[in-house]
Symmetry: C2
Subunit: 212 residues, 2 copies
DNA sequence: TCCGTAAAAGGACAATTGTCCCAATTCTTT
DNA sequence: AAAGAATTGGGACAATTGTCCTTTTACGGA
């Protein structure tokens, strides 16, 4: 849910100590620093903070693909495919990044096998996770996906707005609230059955945060 | 919708003429030649035919990620991440493939920059397309996605079962039929508004195939 | 040729989800 | 401190989608 990639961050940090061409940037919470459809010529690596990566359609609805954390890259796909941005990236907390030019990114890919392998790994992981997640969301009732997301949020100790969680699940805020309420009251589904790796007790605790 | 990758196929075919380690296989229509969750040690390139790539959950429902055609790879993600299969691959028509061992795939990645770049490109494209598609399906009413899919099917001159189309759209067969009927009868949405790059006339024609 | 199976189409009803509200609470910011 | 703007929670109703079931047609094998 909140993806990270520490090895990648290590690589870039080390590289930046020995070479030029790497810049530091800081964004404040709420700032959208990459806009879908716009031209982009840089690749950025998240050093700290949390961002959301999402598509916003003309009808005002948005769909969040991922929450990105430490070590994750943005702009890589666009650099490889030489195309315009496909997603928006907005800082949820304050965010610090390391920025390199697209051309440097591509030359790193060619000249540093270790870097190449890490990016290859990163892309493969993204595909794998995206597949698993979208299948899960399509094929199971919302309750299941919702419980999973809340569990993950809890595990990783991050705090996201309800609105963002709903957008991540591909449902409306209203549906989100409704489902949480239902789960809190009625029968909680079997934690085992859900394969969440969490006890029924812990689940209840998470849900009751909403009661306060 | 039906993805292909001719450059990649060219590369592998040329390689196979000069080296050993590449085998040919044929699968009959309907055959599932890669099973989710199973161990796999090969990577395959589609030479001819059409396959579907999907996840099947225990509740019997399935979700199709992509239809794969000429030049597409399967098993690559698994080779890169060294993990079990995440999807099922089933031949829709008769299918021919070129098979290489996982270790050969990885050594090609390391020793042939051109191959490396092609795979990098392929992964980036998959991510890009997956993002666009899943956002589209989440954020617009089914009619829109359905029309788009039918248009694509028509353009590419492929023929898929209604069941597969529904699984691709993440809806039930019943919903699929219902929506087609509605569109056929009532107002067809503006073709321009949909940005399908197809005229209203042509759309009607496609929908009326169902009437016959 | 006949049978069994799969694909296609749709009726009827139940369940889910979205839309449009409104109210309470918590922030920012001036 | 007060005003305005988000965030959260939920009622009421409409629209959409799923489930279950039946019918018709098409197709391949015995």
């Amino acid at each position: 849910m909140l993806r990270t990639n520490l090895p990648l961050l290590n690589f870039i940090e080390e590289y930046s100590q020995q070479h030029s061409g790497v810049e530091t940037r800081t964004y404040t919470a709420g700032q959208t620093f990459i806009q879908q459809g716009s031209e982009i010529t840089t690749v950025q690596f998240l050093v700290s903070g949390i961002t959301k990566c999402y598509i916003l359609e003309e009808n005002g609805k948005d769909y969040i693909f991922e929450f990105l954390g430490k070590g994750e890259v943005v702009g890589d796909i666009e650099a490889i495919r030489q195309e315009k941005c496909l997603c928006n990236i907005t800082a949820i907390t304050e965010v610090q990044t390391l920025v390199i030019h697209r051309s440097l990114f591509n030359s790193l890919l060619q000249n540093y096998p270790a870097f190449n392998a890490m990016i290859m790994q990163e892309l493969a992981t993204r595909i794998s996770q995206t597949c698993t997640r979208s299948a899960y969301q399509q094929l199971y009732p919302v309750e299941y996906a919702l419980l999973r997301v809340l569990t993950l949020e809890n595990e990783q100790q991050i705090f996201l707005s309800k609105k963002d969680l709903a957008a991540y699940l591909g449902i409306t805020l209203r549906s989100f609230n409704r489902t949480v309420k239902q789960l809190r009251q009625e029968k909680i589904l079997d934690a085992e059955e859900l394969q969440l790796g969490i006890s029924r007790q812990a689940l209840l605790k998470i849900l009751n945060q909403f009661d306060e």
